[in-house]
Symmetry: C2
Subunit: 179 residues, 2 copies
């Protein structure tokens, strides 16, 4: 293997467990440590908690974060879904523009797989985005239910499986862990 | 659930996939964003790559990292294992002292499960450590092959499963991802 060969990867964190966004955040921190420029686009607003937002802010100019999209889907009435779709499409437009801009070394599309799964963005539009990814850009996608076509195009796919969760044991959300 | 109830959790990232240490790093960043004080003790020296080390350094005084332990075990001759054991026991002593010190809000024992699995530290000694954890401390343990006794005592356990890995496709290690 040629260690010098530079290739931007497509990375996917999926599964029903904790750690998909958290591991993406860890990847971002590692890349940031290397002096790289990172952009996070959140497809689910509110998915990042106070601790992460504060940390992103403290990391400065090389760590940029855009909270776009709607929240997690609660109701499923048409009007609420339309609003979610509209917000998700704006996030996808932003992703498309910034992926082509070549301004970033790593772009994280947080919860984009959730947006695909709920039909907020079309799988084909996301696949088209992947096909246009500049060669050196690392593109990270997170969310449950990664579709086979996404996995097919990804270089690294990890499934986070929940083995045990504190909520199921009646332990409330903790500062620094859940938020 | 009482959102105000503070309880330090025992968190475990295990499995054969990527993202165990990376998600711990993300958790540390989130807690750091909350103004918490973090200590990472590495049971496998060299397990953290340049990007993570640089990032830890840049995060300043509230993010402390100690590279202890030996490297990943290559040979299995008695002398080399003795050296690994000695280094791992020193790391465990440090963990014991700092867990009791109550100076930190989160302590990450990175790759300690690897050290247990290879018999470098005794499972019983680690379990005794967990029993003495101060109530408010978040304790994170990473590594493959978490033993049932560890899972039993943990509040949150996530298995990182490898679905697809770039090395198996002949793609060399990439800056900002692997190092």
């Amino acid at each position: 293997m040629d260690e010098q060969k530079k290739k931007g990867l497509i990375l996917v964190n999926t599964g029903n467990g904790k750690g998909k966004t958290t591991a993406a955040l860890g990847m971002a921190l590692r890349a940031w440590g290397q002096g790289m420029k990172i952009l996070v686009i959140q497809f689910i607003k509110g998915g990042w908690k106070y601790g992460e937002l504060k940390a992103a802010e403290k990391l400065g100019a090389n760590f940029e974060m855009r909270q776009m999209g709607g929240g997690f889907i609660k109701g499923k009435d048409d009007q609420s879904l339309d609003e979610h779709r509209h917000a998700a499409l704006e996030a996808l437009d932003a992703a498309r523009a910034e992926i082509s801009s070549e301004k970033y070394d790593m772009i994280i599309l947080d919860e984009i797989l959730y947006a695909i799964h709920y039909g907020l963005v079309a799988l084909d539009d996301v696949l088209a985005l992947l096909d246009k990814k500049p060669g050196s850009l690392h593109l990270v996608m997170t969310g449950r239910n990664a579709s086979p076509e996404i996995i097919e195009r990804a270089d690294l796919v990890t499934e986070m499986r929940e083995i045990k969760h504190p909520f199921t044991q009646g332990i409330p959300a903790q500062k620094g862990i859940e938020y």
